[in-house]
Amino acid sequence: MAYRIFIVDDEPALQKMVKEILTQEGYETDAALSCAQALERFRCAVPDAVLLDVMLPDGDGFSLFGKLREIRDVPVIFLSARDEDEARLRGLGLGADDYITKPFLPQELLLRLKAVLRRVYRETSALSSLGNVKIDWGKCTVHRNGREVSLTAKEFTLLKKLWEARGNIVTIDTLCAALWDGPLVGYENTLMVHIRRLREKIEEDPSHPQFLLTVRGLGYRLKRGEGQ
């Protein structure tokens, strides 16, 4: 099922471009040019996420945000030309899921939107695969070549954190924060031990890993499998 994105922006050219970008990626779109139009259409559109401009001809996006949230609790990303700290902090402080400053690259918009949708509409029983490794996030089980592999809670957390950002580098500090609730000094070596054990369980040849790669000095990256 395709996600439905509701775009509120008073600039028709930008609205048209964003619609094209989202449609090409398989999203459904609906749009409004003003606060009044947005409130009217929002009730019927039933969107999965909203891209909301801050400065609108008949009001501001921050007020509209509250009204939209009263109608339906959907993820909202502010898409604004206002780059001041105050505006960003106000938007995020109100409870928005992200704040993107114009001008932006289409890829940036898509990645951020995907991240928000993934976070909000997380499928708990989803199955994922990494080469010959099948992961069931709901049941917290991992199978390699059809045989169940036993992962400790820390190893599973590590795998999940890397999977959520797959393709991207995750820093040592972020991983430590996920495992020990804070970027603790001196935990790097312990992290390396966990990584080595995880490799032994998910890699065919742990000495020459194909998926869980080290980025020297920075952290680790889980390589995207084919078709991902």
Partner: protein, 402 residues
Amino acid sequence: MKLRGLQKGAMLVTVSALLIFGITLLGWFAFGCYISDGGQDWNVPMKEYSKALTWDGKNYTFTGENLLEEDHWMMLLNPQGQVVWSLRKPEDIPEQFTLTDVASFTRWYLEDYPVQCWVRPDGLLVAGSPRGSVWKHDIAMNTQDLLQTPIWFVGIFLLALGSVLGLAWLVVGRWFHQDQQIRDAARSNWINGVSHDIRTPLSVVMGYAAQLEDAPDINLLYRQKASAIRSQSQVIRDLVNDLNLTMRLDCEMQALRKELLRPETFLRQIGADFLNGGMGTEADFEIDLPETPLPEINADPYLLRRAVNNLLTNCVRHNSPGCLIRLGARRADRWILLWVEGGTVTASKETVSYQPLESDGGAAHGTGLRLVAQIAAAHGGKAEFHNGTPYRCELWLPIKES
């Protein structure tokens, strides 16, 4: 502009000082003139009255009635204290005075009448004025104190002058600062407005250019052109962002949101974001951090990230198709050095200390590097740019005092 304002302020203060000095001199001159005749005569000098009163062997004759005002009076006491002649003497003034009475009224008042006295061979001439018309006080002073009076006078004058000058300087400074603030706010609003208005059309340009760049059904040459439009639009975007921030820092309108940062964690995240964002695809990237943990720094992560990103972006932009970019940190005494090196970017100066914007409100060249220096300065540090191969920039930031 600033220099002209300061000159104007200094001139105003100098003119005020000269004015105060001139008025004081005038006051002194007037006072000097007033006391030149002894400061004892309220109307006509007693000497004139005395000359006008003569003894012809039988009677006293006074020829100076025109000198004596209507409500004033006179009397002459003989050496025994008896009134031997008087003119318009009030009824409550007695005819006979004792030594004590004379000693008292010569210094104070006679029945509340302010009086002046003049010693003559035949007695004491007394001239009285109406009650309440003159204030008189007997002054006696130690000679040593009297000699010190000019010193005290000059000291108090200098103190007063200093206070007035200080106050004037404060007022002028405040006025100048307010004036500057108004100009800064106007300039900042203008830049903010322009950059705000440029953002939406630039989004459309960047968006469509990126779409064309990735479109498989378009000729490679046109895709390359679209790529150039996209990348140059990004340059404009970064310039607009930098210009806005540099302006706010310049006018001290950017509040620092400092927090404690671990340099290693901070730099690793920047490095990861740099590579994840695809900026480092053409370059080799290395991070160089010491094995011993570095002390924390108290800094605004958003601004500091902006500074380091500017340096990384600079390396990429000026070294196409790629070079080795190294990001690192080390401790130097009470400073933490965050450094970026790579390529051969040439900065105009070896050490760039940030300078205010040009007087016409336009940004100086090299806004990106200037912004780096401004951010370092805002944190109480400095930025050093070292030309050569590899080009190296160091951000010196103070270590958080525990």
